[in-house]
Structure formats: structure tokens, C-alpha cells
């Protein structure tokens, strides 16, 4: 099982405890550079960037840029990378990272072919590494480390874990939680693709044993059956921390892709009804509106 906090924070005896190094792949691109700056401003320890043919240059006059991941990892010993390259270059960037010893790979690009994601996942499995995404806003421990593209304002340190297939709904719902006094211990963007490096169920495994976890928020959407799988897991384990879900796409027509490659109902596979009924079975209330999430969570906590 993945010790996600071990990867993101490390152990108190580590020399880089709570300052784990992050490499940005595609740091000189317009998107990569904006978000590299934002991550640095948030306190993430960005130690290197990688852009082929730009090795030797510096990003923002301080952060060294390398041509390959191997050089960047050799120089920094970082175990985390975040990818900002265009979708068609994702697979080669991911292979470069995984073959160089990266253990946590955050894949931002949208529109990565499923086959490329599956190939990257196969390699990650062999190497004992974790992929978050693709098509994810990223992963963060609020007020400590942000590896992704999320704006900082909605998030506040706390004891609720938030897992989300959607980016903007993650911000929206975290914002509502923060305003209601529920900070977040960790937020994990699953991504909106049909195949996820870290599925809802895997993300749940990462957070379920957080010692002071006070609640779990699951932000799902139509398509696939990862919400159903998670609900079943929660039932099987008898997990009883206060949990609330939200499912987007109840009003979406069938057989149409709703923005995310993975947000499509085929027959009854992937329907909102199926997800809601499984969460109900797991005794997890499903909010009708994002703003209702903290209300339902507070209700669960009182019980």
C-alpha cells in the first residue's frame, strides 16, 4: 500500500522532512512555468525542472533545468515529479520519470490516450511508483505542499480528506468545507479520464488510516464504476468515519461525453443512480448541491 504521507512529507528524522523535492517536467512551457511559480509560492520545494534541449539554464534564476529526468534525479535525489507536457508527449515523459526512480508522478495533461495511460501504469507497477491522474488538478496537503494547479484560496489545513474526479468541483467543495470550518488533511484529484493512475478506491486506501482523520468527502461524477467500487470497499471494511459524497451529472444525457473523457453513461454503466444507490447502501449521504456537502458532513458528525 502506498504511504502517501511518507512520499509527500517524509519522516521527522529525514533531513528533508516536510520539504520533499519536486521536479517539474515541462517547466519552461507556458502552463508549466505559471504553475511552477504558483507551487513555489505555496511553499512546495521545487528542486529542478526538465525540458529537453534547455539543460543548463535556470528557471526564475534559481532552479536548475535539465535535459532528462535521469540527470535531474541524479542531481536532486527527488522522488516526486509533476508533468505539464502536451498529452501526446505524456507517455515518453512518464517513462523518463519512472525509469529515473520517480515514485510519485502527478500527471496534469488532459486528453492523454487511454493506451498511453495504461502503458505508463504498467511501468509504474513494475517500478513500485504511483501515478496521480492524468487529467488531474493534482494532490495537496493544504498549507504544506501543493503538487498541482489548484488555486490556494479554497484550501485550509485540517482533518477532512477530499477525493475528487473533478478539478473545479474540488475547489468549490473544499471552499465550502473551509468556510464551514472543515479544513483538509489532504486532497487528491483522481482525474476525469476513463483510466486513472490512482482510482477512488486507491486514494481511499491512501487516506483511510490517517490517525486523526475526522471525515471523508468523495466527489464523483457519472461514468465508470469507481464510486460503486469505493462504496463497496467502505461497506466491506466497515469504515465508519463520517463520510459524504457528491455526484455530478445526474441531469446529463446518456451516451454523451460530458467534458471529461470518462464522464459518459453507457446503458446503465456509469449512471448517477447506480452510484447514489451504492453510497446509500454504504450509509453515505449524497449531496444534491456542492454547498450541501459541509451541511451533511456536520450532520454525520453529530451522530
Amino acid at each position: 500500500m502506498t504511504d502517501i504521507f511518507g512520499l509527500l512529507k517524509g519522516k521527522p528524522e529525514d533531513s528533508d522532512y516536510e520539504k520533499k523535492g519536486v521536479i517539474v517536467q515541462g517547466i519552461t512551457g507556458s502552463y508549466g512555468s505559471i504553475h511552477a511559480k504558483q507551487m513555489i509560492a505555496y511553499g512546495t520545494n521545487v528542486v529542478a525542472g526538465v525540458t529537453p534541449n534547455k539543460g543548463g539554464q535556470k528557471f526564475e534564476e534559481t532552479i536548475p533545468i535539465y535535459n532528462t529526468m535521469q540527470e535531474a534525479v541524479d542531481a536532486t535525489n527527488a522522488k516526486i515529479s509533476i508533468i505539464f507536457v502536451p498529452a501526446k508527449f505524456f507517455l515518453s515523459a512518464a517513462k523518463d520519470a519512472l525509469n529515473s526512480g520517480i515514485k510519485l508522478l502527478v500527471a496534469i495533461p488532459e486528453h492523454v490516450p487511454i493506451r498511453d495511460t495504461m502503458e505508463a501504469l504498467d511501468l509504474a507497477k513494475q517500478k513500485g511508483a504511483v501515478i496521480i491522474g492524468p487529467n488531474t488538478p493534482g494532490i495537496m496537503i493544504p498549507e504544506l505542499i501543493k503538487i498541482g494547479i489548484m488555486p490556494p484560496m479554497p484550501f485550509k489545513a485540517g482533518k477532512i480528506a477530499v477525493l475528487s474526479k473533478s478539478g473545479t468541483l474540488l475547489y468549490e467543495i473544499s471552499d465550502a468545507l473551509t468556510n464551514a470550518g472543515f479544513g483538509q488533511s489532504i486532497t487528491i484529484g483522481i482525474g476525469g479520464d476513463p483510466v486513472n493512475g490512482t482510482r477512488l478506491i486507491d486514494a481511499f486506501e491512501m487516506v483511510k488510516d490517517i490517525p486523526d482523520l475526522e471525515g471523508l468527502v468523495i466527489v464523483g461524477e457519472i461514468g465508470g464504476d469507481s464510486e460503486e467500487m469505493l462504496a463497496q470497499k467502505i461497506i466491506d471494511l466497515g469504515f465508519n468515519k463520517p463520510s459524504v459524497a457528491y455526484i455530478a451529472g445526474r441531469a446529463a444525457p446518456k451516451e454523451k461525453r460530458m467534458g471529461h473523457a470518462g464522464a459518459i453513461v453507457m446503458g446503465t454503466y456509469g449512471s448517477a443512480e447506480s452510484k447514489v444507490s451504492m453510497f446509500n447502501k454504504a450509509n453515505i449521504p449524497v449531496a444534491k448541491r456542492p454547498a450541501e456537502v459541509p451541511v451533511l458532513l456536520a450532520g454525520k458528525m453529530e451522530k
Binding site: 501526446k88 478539478g167 483510466v195 482510482r199 465508470g224 469507481s226 446529463a252 444525457p253 470518462g262 448541491r289
Partner: protein
């Protein structure tokens, strides 16, 4: 994208999967010519990208010219689950012994391709009994697996060979065309014990389109959808009167849900993507201005780092250029929202603090 039956069959034919003779047409004149070439009897099959065609009367037997003249236009005029006929396929009738089910699909939760096979096909997959399910990684099917599946289906002799062979061809198609689903239902056992694909379903991975020029002829997009794609937006047309715009697929779906809960009828789903700029919002309004049925626009933007004044500028510009003359109901989350409200004072754009308020106003607004 999801291919129509006759398109899926074009690919099947290319890969050597056995099929009945068939010809597609889009008008009755061509259809008549094809009827002569094919010879009676045959079936007329509506080509729509949804299932349930048989039940809806979209598949009709045809014995002679008189029947053809009545049934062809009937089938052509059908609308199945809101989908109009894209074409009509004429296909020879088959004298079959039995119907099987065979598919390879992307198993999202297991993150691998999976074979589903059954000796009891011909019904919708949800009702297919005695399913044989095999996970096959990235989609490759060895002789051993193919023969095993046929055996588990209880088949023997040339029928077993035929099924194993078809399965291997489906695997090749899945891998080479990057399919999410390839389905033959039914795969029929003929009187001579060979097998033939009587229907075909094919869904490809749109994100792999850039590697598949050969599939682009199957792409079916309205003019507006094409423009949306060029701008990097996702657009799904719906049949209501309130256009729904936002950033992020989840947020726009959520807005659609809440609007529907409150009695509103969405005219479209438009996701302008992660960020929001004056240009992207203006472009979104341009697209919506081309949809006649729209009486109001509901905008839900979670800006984060985006300045709402930037979005307000787009609205002002749209009115100034007479791009739109219908009201906009907007919830903008982000910085400088007070200033944005001031900018829009007296314009036909209403800004609200919560999406709930914006939705209520939109539902009331279009009723007027």
C-alpha cells in the same frame, strides 16, 4: 467516438471478420438501386448511434419493391432516443442456428481490456446470461485464450474455430484502432456452422484521434461542436432554453443538475476549460449566440486565481458588439467580484454571489 453499425462493419470487413452482404444509403433512390443489387429478401436497418433499434421499429424485413417503398421512408423518418437516422443499411437475411455474444471492452475499474463472451447473445448486454469474462491486459488475445473462450462457450469444430478467429481479429482491431469497445451482438452460427457478425458496435478513444487519420471520416460533429472543439471547449447540445456555461466539466455538470432540479431546461453544456479569460468567455458567448432556442445564459465560473473583472469585460463586449441580446445570469467566484458587479451595473448581465441565486433568477428570467 461511436461508430454507426455500417461503419463498424467497414472495419470488420477490413479485418476479415465474416459479414452478410450489405449496402448503406442515405436516400431512397440509392436505396432502390442497392435493393436490386442485393436482391430480396433483406432487412432495412436504421443507422443511429444508440441501441434499442429493433424495439423501436428500426429494423424491418423487406420482401419486395412494394414493401421497400413503404418501409424505407418509414424507417428513415424514425427518431430513436432523440437520434435521427444517419443512413439506412440494407442487409441480406440470414438463416441462423444460434446467436452468440462477443466483445472486448476497456474495463475502467480493472484498468485493462476484458473479453465478454456468451453462448446466449442477441439481447442487450445487461441481459446476456452465462457471461465468460477474461481480463487481457492491453488487449492482446493469444491462440490459447481465444480457443479457451470458444471452449468455455460450449462450442466445437468449425464454430469454435470461427469464434476463436473472430476474437483474435477483434483484439487486433481494438489494439490498432485504440477502441474502448468492440462488440458483435449477435455473432450468429449459420446453418453450415460458420459464424458471422450480424451487428457491430465500435467506440474509439477520442484522445487518440491524433494517431488515427483513417477514422476521421467517421467523425460526426455539428458546426457548433466543431467550433467549440477548435476553441478547446467541450460542448454538448441539449434541447432546453438556458445555455449553461462554466469552467471545468464537473462544475458545469453540477450546474446542469441544479438547474434541472429547479425546473430549468438546459440548452447546452459548455465547458470552457480550466481557466477563464475575456477571450474564452467571449468565444463561449459567440457560440451560444448561434443556438436559436436559447432564451437566457447561465454562467458559473469558479475563478480561483481568475479576476472576475476579466470575465465581466467579456459580457460587456458581447453586448456592445450586439453579439447577444438575451439576459445573462452569472455567478463568478474569484477576485475583484465587487468591482465586476459595478462594471455590469445597468447591463443585461446579473451577477449573483451563489449559483443557487443565479439559477433561480435564470429559471424565472426565461419564463418572462
Amino acid at each position: 467516438m461511436q461508430l454507426l453499425e455500417f461503419q463498424a462493419k467497414e472495419l470488420f470487413r477490413e479485418y476479415g471478420i465474416s459479414l452478410l452482404d450489405s449496402i448503406s444509403s442515405t436516400n431512397i433512390e440509392d436505396g432502390r438501386k442497392h435493393a436490386k443489387e442485393l436482391g430480396y429478401p433483406f432487412v432495412i436497418k436504421i443507422q443511429v448511434p444508440v441501441g434499442g433499434r429493433g424495439k423501436a421499429g428500426g429494423i424491418q424485413k423487406c420482401q419486395n419493391d412494394d414493401e421497400f417503398d413503404i418501409k424505407y421512408p418509414q424507417v428513415m423518418d424514425l427518431e430513436i432516443k432523440g437520434e435521427k437516422a444517419r443512413a439506412i443499411l440494407l442487409e441480406k437475411m440470414a438463416d441462423i442456428k444460434k446467436e452468440l455474444y462477443l466483445s472486448i471492452f476497456l474495463n475502467r475499474s480493472k484498468r485493462c481490456y476484458t473479453i465478454i463472451a456468451s453462448a446466449e447473445g442477441g439481447v442487450e448486454i445487461e441481459s446476456v446470461k452465462n457471461q465468460i469474462i477474461k481480463e487481457i491486459g492491453l488487449g492482446d488475445v493469444s491462440d490459447e485464450i481465444a480457443n479457451e473462450v470458444a471452449k468455455e462457450m460450449g462450442l466445437e469444430g468449425i464454430t469454435a474455430q470461427g469464434v476463436a478467429d473472430t476474437l483474435k481479429k477483434l483484439s487486433k482491431l481494438t489494439i490498432e484502432k485504440e477502441a474502448e469497445l468492440v462488440e458483435i451482438n449477435p455473432l450468429a452460427i449459420m446453418q453450415d456452422d460458420t459464424v458471422m457478425a450480424l451487428d457491430g458496435k465500435f467506440v474509439t478513444d477520442d484522445n487518440a484521434n491524433f494517431r488515427h487519420d483513417e477514422l476521421q471520416k467517421y467523425q460526426e460533429k455539428t458546426e457548433i461542436e466543431e467550433q467549440a472543439e477548435k476553441s478547446g471547449f467541450s460542448l454538448v447540445e441539449l434541447d432546453g432554453d438556458i445555455a449553461v456555461v462554466g469552467n471545468g466539466a464537473g462544475l458545469v455538470m453540477s450546474t446542469l443538475d441544479m438547474l434541472s432540479d429547479n425546473g430549468g431546461k438546459p440548452a447546452c453544456f459548455l465547458d470552457v476549460g480550466g481557466g477563464a479569460t475575456t477571450e474564452s468567455v467571449y468565444e463561449a458567448l459567440t457560440l451560444i449566440s448561434k443556438l436559436d432556442r436559447v432564451k437566457g445564459i447561465l454562467v458559473n465560473l469558479y475563478g480561483g486565481i481568475v479576476k472576475t473583472t476579466v470575465v465581466a469585460e467579456a459580457f460587456l463586449k458581447a453586448y456592445e458588439n450586439n453579439l447577444i441580446d438575451i439576459p445573462v445570469f452569472s455567478r463568478l467566484k474569484g477576485t475583484e467580484s465587487e468591482k465586476a458587479k459595478e462594471m455590469l451595473q445597468g447591463s443585461r448581465t446579473n451577477i449573483f454571489d451563489s449559483v443557487e441565486e443565479a439559477i433561480n433568477a435564470a429559471v424565472m428570467g426565461v419564463k418572462k
